[in-house]
Symmetry: C2
Subunit: 468 residues, 2 copies
């Protein structure tokens, strides 16, 4: 049994939904399907979820929001019509949507917003189920309440409850194709609660873990995950197989293919995830797995993220002072800051953190506290840093990865403010000026992916000439 999840662009209009249904029908193992709300049909279009949020906000403010409601209705009307579904189906969907949008009684504002937002996915699922049935498939919409998608009662930020898995597991035994709306579940008290934005990925991951799917297919609008940001490099190398740990490190530094939390249930249940393209389903896509065969190239991806700063502290004999580091981190914690890394020398330590968290007032207060409470010799805050990262499971066993990376950065004349490589060696991280980040990524991509290809081509030619 496969769980297939389709994103917003895959549901944006009738044409896309037809592709989705073709994909479902092409593999009879695709028996549990999760759908998002219809996304953008063209660049400046609005996602249905955004239309629903506008509606909810206007309704809460004015008690009525006819124009906003109409915008939502029109999207579904267009889809129903173009799919050639019967007018009964259209009327039924409209009536059910109308009920959700008008039912303000007894609901707090938060719950009302959650209920309205969830209608986007809910009606997507109904439409897809109707359409598949119209094609003769045994497809059924399943409501998350009925199926047992139990979540915490945190409006707009629900988390799955452990009890959910036992109930959802029973979906295995249902006949036909299940069409399941993403993005929301129900609290133990039976109230509808949504996940955080983009949460249909989470629904799919939970279902895949619950039914022990052979694979969790996540259909988007790209052929695969690339080893580097395709905006920086033309036709970059595609990632065929990657581990959860690698994916997580890459997601951290700018790879935004997948909702970060969404990987957890699949990761814990060791369900492989496959990122595929609705518009090109024959492309193999990218597999995310627990473990992978080591490849010739030990590096799986190059990424970067900017918006970091560092607080550098030095104190003579700091190294001999038990608890110094802990006290420093405690000051940051008391100021509500989480930190990213703490590279250190003997008598100095730098704390790398996200710049957005450090307001000028907070910075001044922290600097003052560190000076007076820790009696440091020197403190300096450096802004506009970027972290550039190479990620790869095989790096740990590979002598020379760091040599190749630092040589490439030196050749590009990029100064390294920081190098951080932990015992894990799934990643190696370089702190550079934000203005150098793109050049650094390109240099590392060249070193690990292009030069390698050139090497391989050379070897090939060598082999060919030897065989003559």
């Amino acid at each position: 049994m496969k769980v297939a999840k389709f994103g917003g662009t895959s549901l944006a209009n009738a044409e896309q939904i037809k592709k989705v249904c073709n994909i479902i029908r092409a593999d009879k193992d695709r028996r549990l399907v999760v759908v998002s709300a219809p996304g953008k049909r063209y660049k400046d279009d609005k996602k249905v979820t955004d239309l629903l949020i506008s509606y909810a906000e206007a309704f809460l403010k004015n008690g009525v929001a006819q124009q906003e409601k109409q915008a939502v209705f029109e999207r579904y009307q267009e889809i129903v019509q173009e799919l050639g579904l019967s007018s009964e189906v259209g009327q039924q969907i409209e009536a059910e949507l109308e009920e959700v949008l008008s039912n303000r009684a007894g609901l707090s504002s938060e719950r009302f917003v959650d209920a309205v937002k969830a209608a986007g996915e809910d009606n997507s699922a109904k439409v897809v189920a109707h359409y598949l049935r119209s094609l003769g498939e045994d497809a059924h919409y399943v409501n998350p309440r009925e199926a047992g998608m139990l979540v915490t009662d945190e409006a707009g930020n629900a988390h799955v409850l452990p009890a959910a898995y036992e109930k959802l597991k029973q979906l295995r035994d249902r006949q036909g194709i299940i069409i399941f709306p993403g993005f929301f579940g129900y609290s133990e008290a039976g109230e509808l609660v949504t996940f955080s934005r983009g949460g249909s990925d989470i629904t799919g991951s939970i279902l895949a873990a619950a039914v022990k799917a052979s694979v969790y297919e996540n259909f988007t609008d790209v052929d695969s995950v690339y080893v580097v940001n395709p905006n920086l490099v033309e036709n970059p190398v595609e990632i065929k197989v990657i581990t959860y740990r690698e994916m997580r490190e890459l997601s951290y530094s700018g790879f935004s293919v997948f909702h970060e939390e969404a990987l957890i249930p699949a990761y814990q249940a060791e369900i492989p995830v496959c990122i595929k393209n609705t518009n090109n389903p024959s492309a193999p896509g990218t597999m995310i797995v627990s473990e992978r065969e080591p490849s010739a190239n030990r590096v799986s991806g190059v990424a970067s993220d900017s918006g970091f700063c560092s607080i550098y502290v030095s104190k003579y004999l700091m190294n001999k002072e038990i608890g110094f580091g802990r006290k420093l981190l405690q000051i940051l914690e008391e100021e509500g800051l989480s930190y990213e890394h703490t590279p250190s020398g003997i008598d100095n330590i730098s704390v790398i953190l996200r710049e957005r968290d450090l307001t000028p007032a907070k910075e001044a207060r922290i600097v003052e506290r560190i000076k007076t409470e820790l009696q440091v010799d020197d403190i300096a805050v450096q802004h506009d840093l970027a972290l550039v990262m190479i990620v790869g499971e095989g790096m740990r066993q590979s002598v020379g990865t760091s040599a190749r990376a630092t040589a490439a950065l030196a050749a590009a004349e990029i100064n390294l403010d920081m190098i951080n490589q932990g015992s894990s060696e799934v990643s190696m991280m370089f702190g550079v000026k934000a203005s150098d980040a793109d050049r650094a990524v390109i240099a590392l991509y060249q070193a690990f992916f292009v030069q390698d290809e050139v090497e391989l081509a050379k070897q090939d030619r060598h082999m060919t000439s030897m065989m003559r």
Copy 2:
């Protein structure tokens, strides 16, 4: 005014003391001289301080220790005789020594041990003053109590009190050459207390800071500090100038030229320190300064230290958990462990610590606590690590230092378990297997000191051929 401190081997016998006095007389700015107790005359000899400790221990145990006392007396008798000092001087020194060694009344064991130990330096100073006077110099023994060497009342581990500096400053105004015994001071209540072992370096540093010396000369038995351990490399490059920060990083990882705490007073008062050789005083020695001119070679030294281990911890989404690192460090602190470094990836962190601090029982307890209290996915302890370090003030501005270092290590086929480079860039650190440490040091020495020389020689030849 210069402060000159002479170590134990420089005072070991009459011949050495004559060298010391020649050095003092060769520069009339050398007006404040600190001496250690007589050290070893040959490889298997005993230091006077060790003889005194044996005496004190035996005396405390048996109430008498004639043989041990005799051993101490003989050392001074030999020195007095061979220096050709008068029998009155010999008798006076013996009488004063006898008084200290016999005066157990009213002293705790700790205080008695401190008083006996201090007699080594105290009598060295008296002998040197007598000998200089016999040569016609205006030299005077000065007692630390009279001079105002005020210290905390921690037997065997005293620290200077801030009030001492104001009093010691007045030594500037004395006539002639002051001979000052190292290693001890007096508490505010007037009790004799010693510094930690090797503390004559501390006395010299305090005096240099107090009198604002133009330089603090520290005479030992080596021509200079070398850029690498001379046991690993034949005729290594000498360090001419080095900063306090560099010296401190090198001291940390195996360079034991100087008592670690001893640099603090000189560092804070910005007094340059010069390491010189009593047996070859014309050699320029090594200067330790606050700041230095950047040199062509950005690296000042290569060092390593073994006996480290790492605790590796990983947890999915660790990065999003505010306070995770702090809690981890708190567990270590509660178990009385200080840590050295904490390199980290996104969802993993390693803590590097000294292996000697981690008993098997402690290790088991810490692993258990981290598992249960922090709910980590994975934890692993790795033993037998070494830290190899390159140190240099200029590294921060130098593109390519890390490239050169990692290339050298890769060429030597040394796998890097860790790379740690902070924002300070006074040092760059590599975690390797302890069995690889020496090879790593040699590879880095070759890369930064030998290959550079080859490069320079090449350039020279090139210049020469161009000029022809």
